[in-house]
Structures are given as C-alpha cells and as structure tokens.
C-alpha cells in the first residue's frame, strides 16, 4: 500500500486546513482559541510547503534552520502580539 503521506494528500490537507481556518475565524468571532487554531493551521501549512513542496527535507541543517526559523519567529511574534493585545 502506498504511503498516505504524499504530495496529493498534503495538498488536500492544506486545502482542508485553509477552509477550517476560514470557518473557525468566521464562526468564532475572534477569541484566543480561534486565533491559536488559525495560527497553528498556518504553521502546519508552512511546514508542509517548506518540507514537501520546496523539498527541504534532508538538505543541510543551515538551510532548514533559516526556513523553519523564519516560520517560528513569524508565528511566535504574531502570537505574542495577539496575547499582549487581549
């Protein structure tokens, strides 16, 4: 049996995560839990793009650190800024 983890399922998963983020943001009318869900979904999609679409899995640690580091710094900064404002 072929692995379920492939670019096709990743694409579908990213589409579902995007739709879920939209509905959570729309129905939740804000709130820290909705914000956390939306940001975690964005982070997961970012990991998929870096790891599987950009094919950075297995490249030198330096390149991966730059890409994943960017994603971490941006997501954590947005989270901190959000929690400071509530």
């Amino acid at each position: 049996m072929k692995s379920l983890y492939n670019v096709h399922t990743i694409w579908l998963l990213m589409m579902l995560l995007t739709a879920a983020s939209y509905f959570v943001g729309d129905l939740g009318k804000g709130g820290w839990l909705a914000m956390l869900f939306v940001l975690v979904a964005a982070f997961i999609k970012g990991v998929f793009i870096i790891r599987d679409f950009m094919e950075l899995k297995g490249v030198s640690l330096l390149w991966r650190a730059i890409m994943y580091g960017w994603l971490w710094v941006v997501c954590i900064s947005i989270s901190i800024a959000y929690f400071v404002s509530v």
Binding site: W11, S21, D26, V38, K57, W63, V74, I78, Y82, S85
Partner: protein, 195 residues
C-alpha cells in the same frame, strides 16, 4: 574490515534549483517577516481600528485566493515530478495549470482592489488600510514576478531545454513560486482572519 563510507553520515541533499534563487528567497522572506511583525505590533496600538476595518475585507475572496495559491503550488510540484521522469509534455501542462491558478489569484485580487479603490480607500485612509494595501500589493507584485518566471520556464521547456538530467530551471522557478505561496499562508490569517 569495515567500509569507511558505511559508517559515515549520509551527505545532506543539495537545495533544489539554483543556489542564487535561495539567497533571493531568504531576502524576500526577511522583508515580509519584518513587515508581518510590524503589522502585529501596530495592531496592539490600534486594536479597535484594526478589528473594525478588518470586517470590511472580503474574506471569501481571501479564502478563494488561498485555495488557488495552494493548488498552484501543488501543480508546480507535479511539474517538477514530471520533468524528473522526463515527461516534458506533462511538465508543461502542470506549469500552465499553475499559471492558471496564479491568473485566478490576480483576477480575484484585482476585483478586491477595484472594490476598495472605487469606495475611495487608499493608503492614507487609515493605518489598517495602509498595511492591508501595502502588504497585499507587495505580495501581488511577487505573484506577477513568479508567474513571469513560470511562464519563461514553460516556454523553455516547450523548446526542449529541460530533461530528467537537466531541470535546474524548473526547480528554481518552483522554489520561488512556493515562497510566494508560503508568504500568503501567513498573510491571509494575519490580515483577514485574526482579530
């Protein structure tokens, strides 16, 4: 006797595509990253204004654009896979599919801008719109550039420039296009959803 190569660590893979594009990608991400953080910090000081005017954005168009860019990125992955199997025709088809996704994005974004500009909204309307317009317009220009690169690669592929052993150009274009997608993945929730 042990084979010395057997005990050594496996060598790290090289970055796909041309190394120069990666330095360009890192610079672009740095600029967008700073922009995102400034937006988040400015939002703290203008929380009510940001929440109020965020409601005026068309989230459905934002959602559709996100789905278009993710799909377009996936089509580019398929184009790279096709050329690695020496399937030039399939590679070209997937590149055109990715370009169609990019075109859809530009059309929807233009409709959104038309809506805002015809309502008299500009960069000087307020802080929220200054960020919304400058961030999304900056990204819009990157989509245009990414599409030009994809189109150039599709034309070169049609002329037989790429094969299973020589496809650095396809990988280079793909890497840039994925960066455009990655930036939108953060921009969409930050500007359209989080409140």
């Amino acid at each position: 006797m042990m084979n010395p190569s057997a005990s050594s660590k496996p060598e790290a893979k090289l970055l796909p595509g041309d190394l120069a594009i990666w330095f360009f990608i890192f610079m672009e991400l740095l600029v967008f990253g700073i922009f995102f953080i400034i937006y988040a910090v400015m939002r703290i000081e203008n929380i009510e204004l940001f929440n109020e005017y965020q409601q005026t954005l068309n989230r459905e168009l934002g959602l559709a654009n996100t789905l278009l860019l993710i799909s377009s990125s996936y089509f580019v992955v398929r184009a790279v896979q096709a050329i690695r199997h020496n399937n030039v025709a399939s590679c070209i088809h997937w590149l055109y599919a990715a370009l169609a996704g990019g075109t859809g994005f530009l059309i929807l974004k233009s409709l959104e801008y038309h809506d805002k500009f015809s309502a008299g909204i500009s960069l000087s309307t307020n802080t929220f719109y200054m960020f919304y317009l400058s961030l999304t317009l900056f990204h819009f220009l990157h989509v245009v550039l990414g599409m030009l690169i994809l189109f150039a690669v599709a034309i070169k592929a049609k002329r037989g420039a790429y094969s299973s052993v020589n496809h650095t150009g396809v990988e280079t274009a793909a890497s840039y296009w994925h960066m455009v997608d990655l930036v939108w993945i953060i921009l969409f929730p930050l500007v359209y959803i989080i409140r």
